[in-house]
Every structure is written in C-alpha cells, then in structure tokens.
C-alpha cells in the first residue's frame, strides 16, 4: 500500500491505513520526540499521542505539502506544547525543579546516544532553537521542510539554527569544557 492509499484509507477511518503510516514514519517521529523531550518514556507517550492526532486530524490534511512535513509539524507542536506545559508546572512547583533533573541528564544522554555534555547544553537551549537545530543536524531536514514543519519563515529557521549553535558554544565555553569532553 502506498502512502497516498494509506492516507485515503486513514481518512475513511480505516485503522489499517494508520498502521501503514505508523510503520513508515514511527522511527523518525520517535527519534525527534526523544531528542526534544529527552526521555524514552516521554517519546513513547508522544509517539502514541501524535499518531492518535494523525488519525483524528487526517481529514484536515489537504496534501499541499508532503505528509512527512505535516507529521513533523504535528510532532514539533506536540513536543513544544509538552515542554511549555512542563515549564509552567515547574514554575508552579508541581514538577521537580530543573536543577534537580540536571543530575539525571548524563543518564538520559547515554540512553539517547548523545554526548552527555552536549545533551546537557542542548537542554538549556530555548525550545524553538533546539527544535530547529535537532531537525537540521540530527534529522538532516532541509531548511524548507523545517520552516514548513515549524511554521516559520526560511530566514527565521536559519537565524534560529545560527543562534542555537552560538548559544551552545557559549554554554560549553562557560562550563569550561575541552573538545575531548564534547
């Protein structure tokens, strides 16, 4: 079954269509969620929620852009929402303060396959900059696809990536790390 056929079947409420789309895109959605949210459990939950949203909202997909772009937009929006909610909860004192979570970062990074130092620095980036950088450097997406996925202009994507790299450099320098640590 091709992607278009799967989308059509999914639109008609056929779960088999969704299964095909899930098989096609699950790894990329999972990886992006994992890198954005920083935990495999959160990524699993996100994967489930995102494909549930796909099933519910596939009727809104008009086919103007590639399905993967539309799916990435949904993924990043979902992750950004979660991060925003987490930030509010932390601010209100309902979740552990970020300082307390920093201790777990190195463990998380090992699971992620990231350099622990870079992973810690990535956590400190603003959510949108982090999303742009991850999509560009880790998922190898084009600027156009990132712009479509995050609903930003091309210039804004480029400047976000540039700022993210500059900030990452600043954080690593502030920590007094050497290249070997990275």
């Amino acid at each position: 079954m091709t992607e278009l056929e799967a989308i059509d079947r999914c639109r008609k409420g056929d779960i088999a269509g969704l299964h095909v789309l899930y098989e096609m895109h699950r790894t990329k959605v999972y990886n992006l969620s994992w890198r954005m949210l920083g935990s495999p459990q959160d990524a699993e939950d996100a994967l489930q929620e995102i494909f549930l949203k796909v099933f519910d909202r596939i009727k809104n997909y008009r086919g103007d852009s590639a399905f993967s772009t539309w799916l990435y937009r949904m993924t990043t929006n979902h992750c950004l929402d979660l991060l925003r909610r987490r930030k509010i909860l932390t601010f209100l004192g309902f979740e552990n303060a970020p300082e307390a979570e920093d201790k777990k970062d190195s463990e998380k990074a090992i699971n992620l396959g990231l350099s622990p130092v870079v992973a810690q620095a990535l956590e400190k980036l603003p959510a949108k900059q982090k999303a742009c950088l991850l999509m560009r450097e880790m998922e190898e997406m084009s600027y156009e696809d990132i712009a479509a996925a995050l609903q930003l202009s091309l210039g804004s994507v480029k400047s976000n990536i540039h700022r993210a790299k500059a900030l990452l450099k600043e954080i690593l320098e502030k920590e007094g790390l050497s290249q070997e640590d990275v």
């Binding site: 899930y22 396959g113 190898e140």
Partner: protein, 137 residues
C-alpha cells in the same frame, strides 16, 4: 580551564551524535496501545453525548440554554409590542388603516355612481311603448 570552541567543532559533535541511534523501542507495544485506544473510542457507549462530563461542557450548555431562553423572550416581547402598536393605531385613527389597505381599489366618484337610474328610465320607455302597441291592437 576555559576554552574557545569553534562552531565547526559543535557541528562535528552533533554529526557524531547523529550516527548513534537511540536504543530500540518496542514499537509494537506502542502500536497495540494506540490500536486499543482507537477501538475503545469507537465503541457505541463512547458516542453517547455527555454534556455533564466536564465543567466546561456545563458552562457551554448553560450558555446555550441562556441564549435560547433570551431569544424566545425577546421574540415574544417584540410580538407583543407590534400587537399593541397596531391596536393603538386602529383605535386612534381607524380610517388610516382603511386608506392604507392595499386591497381596496380606489374608483372615481363619477364611475362609482349607482347605475340603477339609467335602466329604470329605459324600462319606463319600453313599458310605455308596449302599452301603446297594445292600445293600437
């Protein structure tokens, strides 16, 4: 010791990270959960509308009810006002309503004179002529 990083070094670090894949996840488990959630949602008992299920729904329902009742009351008030207004116009100036009645066709006074006088005259003539004929016969 503080060290100056180059952007290229960071890009290289990110590229190294890219090659390492995250630990394998049980995608099947996620799919079964997803499938179960979709199927449980489509069961008939989940289609039943429950406006009391959430406080927001309560507020939405109350707002709808309020709008509906207000609409009915406003409509009734408008109808009553129209009736009273038309009654008052009738009472104060009954002719006004008659002259404004679209169904009445205004006819000239000359045309509207009773036509009974002319046939009466002609009748008299006929009667007279017949009477004379009879006399002659």
């Amino acid at each position: 010791m503080k060290r100056n990083f180059k952007i290229q070094e960071i890009e290289r670090a990110l590229a190294r990270m890219k090659k390492e894949t995250p630990e394998p996840v049980v995608f099947d488990r996620v799919w079964y959960k997803l499938e179960d959630r979709i199927q449980s949602r489509t069961r008939p008992q989940h289609i039943v509308w429950k406006p009391w299920g959430h406080p927001v729904r309560w507020v939405a329902l109350a707002a709808c009810l309020c709008v509906a009742v207000t609409g009915v009351l406003v409509q009734q008030q408008a109808n009553e006002n129209n009736e009273v207004a038309s009654y008052l116009v009738n009472v104060s100036n009954p002719m006004a309503t008659i002259s404004h009645d679209q169904n009445i066709v205004k006819v000239s006074a000359l045309l509207s004179d009773s036509p009974s006088s002319v046939p009466e005259m002609s009748d008299e003539v006929h009667i007279d002529s017949l009477a004379t004929d009879e006399i002659f016969l």
